[in-house]
């Protein structure tokens, strides 16, 4: 089924657009469930080692830049706002707004990744906090701290990877939006990307306290 100028085609396996949309939605939710299990394994391992090496984990946590982490949190939360506004724009058929909000989301996402990689990671590497490379910390709890940093880099790295993939998807969608591919009747891809982006945001909401804030009162 094609409307003139709009290319929301009904894929041949579906009976109608509603079924197609529902299938896409269920598919994305199931995919997010797999992502929860994926990150869940990491969180479990982190929790176990935190219990084993509490002093070292506190030392490590204190060496992180809470300010930058907080800034990034705000940046990411804002990008979720702009993404939600993008979905709304698509729903209302406002193409220019859709493109604008998608671009804003990408800019905020790139800011996040940029801050993380160039400021935080680079700084931590220079300070000899990168495990296995040239980790060097003067503390009786260095062993625990090194393990903390293993999880810090792995968890934020896997998270950043998911963000980068999300950004790539969003770039494609922006291009398609410019071409006029999305209508109030057919904007499922934007919605699904929104779900994914919010999920990436939620993961960060867990990561930030677990890595940066949890030892603050010690």
């Amino acid at each position: 089924m094609l409307s003139e100028g709009h290319v929301t085609a009904l894929a041949h396996q579906f009976e109608d657009l509603e079924q197609q949309r529902e299938a896409a939605s269920l598919g994305m939710w199931l995919f997010l469930a797999t992502e929860i299990m994926f990150f869940g394994g990491l969180f479990t391992a982190y929790t176990v080692y935190r219990m084993m090496y509490l002093p070292g984990f506190d030392v490590g946590s204190h060496l992180l830049n809470v300010k930058l982490g907080a800034v990034n949190t705000i940046v990411l939360l804002s990008s979720s706002l702009t993404m939600a506004l993008a979905v709304r724009a698509a729903m209302l058929g406002k193409r220019r707004h859709l493109v604008t909000f998608l671009v804003l989301t990408m800019l905020l996402g790139l800011t996040f990744v940029g801050v993380k990689l160039t400021f935080e990671w680079h700084h931590e590497y220079v300070e000899h906090l990168a495990p296995g490379l040239d980790f060097d910390l003067n503390s009786p709890h260095a062993k625990g701290a090194e393990l903390f940093f293993v999880f810090y880099f792995t968890m934020t790295g896997v998270h950043a990877l998911h963000m980068i993939i999300g950004l790539a998807v969003m770039a494609v969608l922006t291009w398609q939006a410019i071409q006029g591919r999305f209508t109030p009747e057919g904007y499922t891809a934007i919605e699904m990307a929104g779900l994914y982006w919010h999920f990436v945001d939620v993961v960060w909401i867990f990561l930030f306290p677990l890595l940066y804030l949890i030892g603050a009162h010690h």
Partner: protein, 540 residues
């Protein structure tokens, strides 16, 4: 099912609608993808089987007849990795699931056909990495990759093998996702949940496990890779890590994984038993719920692989109790299948022989699970040949026989050809005999104390080992026979009609082979599943 679907002439069907390599490698037709999987997993089965053959040949002598210990260790590792990840886990879901799920719900394809093709390519990519690991010198950690052996001490291609398994896991996840969405959202009008064929209930339960369990294996392998690359102490105690944590994370997936391997086979058996006794499955809803119960409980029992690892007594108690619990739904299924035969009209074609073989061997092997859920006996039996016998009874005597039964059942539908049933029954018999001769002695070997993964062994174990190896050679022959007649049938087999078995089920309401869109007209369902009788079914 009501007859609103009209048969097409078998002239144009999904096999001959387009020719050429590109039309196969770029297909999004679930039926062609199923055949792509069939070819690939058959290939991997032969590689894994060859490794097993070499192992059994080697073990006829206590000092080893054939291989250096280092080579033997690589053999059992690659045998395990290939058979688990590249044969058993995909087998029924990727071949029969892909082919049948859309047809059984009355749809034209799965929910996400392109994702389906991607799943196959991901599977192939993972397979290539694993083959590379094998050819480049092998991996010798066992398929279980225990740390710190795999992270710090093993030479060999651990990274390549782990990467291969990691990649293939995504094929599993995406296939499961596709199935769940299809079954939820694309059922034909009138096809309520409790009218679904039991095969779909089984596939559904399997898919839940695939979706929720596989990611945990993925992240575990990522951590192993990080440890190997950067020498950080995630699982190596010398660097501050905990090797038991690896075991917890690994088995959290790998126990549910064994139910990924057996549930679909149980689904096939339901289909076979009903068709070849012309009776609805006894206790339909009990079997349906059992599948879901098995999937749910399967996530709670992983610690029974770790009774001797040094985990706490309390943890072991809990895992033991839950492991006993998971046996109950399986028992319920066995009884229901048996009751289905009561007062049926039973015929003995090859698929039915495989189904009966499954029930007998699964019962026997499943009950040996009780020995292992039981703490006191498991201490003695853990990591011995008893375990090997136990899981081969379930995986080969169970899952593989179910796979073969399903292949023989749906072959006419998939290819439009019949195979010689006489040879098929003969092969089933050879397989049954060869299988028992191979693995029954291993129960005794295990209780006598022969540990597993041993390239050499004390002399007093030789007789049982020779018996087992003799059985393995018979089993090997048994597997080759179907290969021959299936290939033969594709060219010379008699043409099968739409429903050579007289079975109920939407897939039999269309031609063999089916057209690309499966049905001429989208079907509507007005009957219960397996509505063989003319009258209303009675409740006893």
């Amino acid at each position: 099912m009501s007859q609103t679907a009209v048969e097409t002439s078998p002239g144009v069907n999904y096999l001959n609608v387009k020719y050429g390599v590109k039309s196969w490698l770029l297909t999004t037709d679930h039926k062609r993808i199923a055949l792509l999987y069939l070819a690939s997993i058959t290939f991997f089965f032969m590689v894994g089987g060859a490794a097993a053959g070499l192992m059994r040949l080697h073990l006829i002598e206590p000092q080893g007849a054939l291989l250096e210990p280092a080579t033997y260790n690589k053999m059992f590792s690659i045998h395990g990795i290939i058979m688990v990840f590249f044969f058993l886990i995909p087998s029924i879901p990727a071949v029969m699931g892909n082919f049948l799920v859309p047809m059984m719900v009355g749809a034209r394809d799965l929910a996400f056909p392109r994702l389906n093709l991607l799943s196959w390519y991901i599977y192939i990519a993972g397979g290539l990495f694993t083959l590379y690991a094998m050819i480049a010198g092998g991996v010798d950690t066992g398929w279980t990759f225990y740390t710190p052996l795999s992270t710090t001490y093993a030479n060999g291609n651990v990274m390549a093998a782990a990467l291969g398994v990691f990649i293939t896991g995504f094929s599993s996840i995406l296939t499961g996702l596709n199935f769940v969405v299809t079954i939820h959202k694309m059922r034909a009008p009138g096809l309520t949940w409790f009218r679904l064929p039991l095969f779909l209930w089984a596939i559904y339960a399997t898919s839940i496990i695939m979706i929720l369990g596989t990611p945990v294996l993925a992240i575990t392998l990522v951590l192993v890779a990080l440890e190997r690359l950067f020498h950080v102490g995630v699982f190596d105690p010398a660097l501050g890590g905990d090797p038991i944590l690896f075991q917890h994370l690994f088995w959290f997936y790998s126990h549910p994984a064994v139910y990924i391997m057996i549930l679909p086979s149980m689904g096939v058996v339901s289909e076979l038993v009903t068709c070849f006794s012309r009776k609805r499955v006894f206790g339909y809803s009990f079997i349906a719920f059992s599948s879901v119960a098995i999937a749910a409980i399967s996530f709670l029992v992983w610690g029974h692989h770790m009774f001797v690892s040094g985990q706490s007594v309390y943890a072991s108690l809990v895992f033991s109790a839950l492991s006993f619990a998971v046996a109950i739904p399986s028992a319920i299924k066995v009884f229901n299948w048996t009751a289905t035969l009561y007062r049926g009209s039973i015929s003995y074609q090859a698929p039915m022989l495989y189904a009966m073989g499954f029930i007998a061997l699964f019962t026997m092997g499943g009950l040996t699970g009780l020995f292992l859920a039981s703490l006191a006996t498991d201490i003695h039996l853990h990591d011995t040949y008893f375990i090997i016998a136990h899981f081969h009874y379930i995986m080969v005597g169970g899952a593989l026989m179910g796979y073969l039964g399903g292949l023989h059942f749906w072959w006419p539908k998939m290819t439009g050809r019949l195979y010689p049933d006489g040879w098929a029954r003969f092969a089933a018999l050879v397989i049954f005999i060869g299988f028992n001769l191979t693995f029954m002695p291993q129960f005794v070997l295990g209780y006598l104390g022969m540990p597993r993964r041993y390239a050499v062994y004390p002399e007093e174990f030789q007789v049982l080992n020779v018996m087992s190896s003799a059985g393995a050679s018979i089993l090997g022959v048994g597997y080759i026979i179907p290969l021959v007649y299936f290939i033969w049938s594709m060219r010379y087999g008699p043409v099968a009609g739409p429903n050579p078995w007289g079975a109920k089920g939407l897939e039999w309401q269309t031609s063999s082979p089916p057209p690309t869109e499966n049905f001429e007209q989208a079907p509507t369902v007005t009957e219960e599943a397996y509505a063989y009788g003319a009258k209303e079914a009675r409740v006893v």
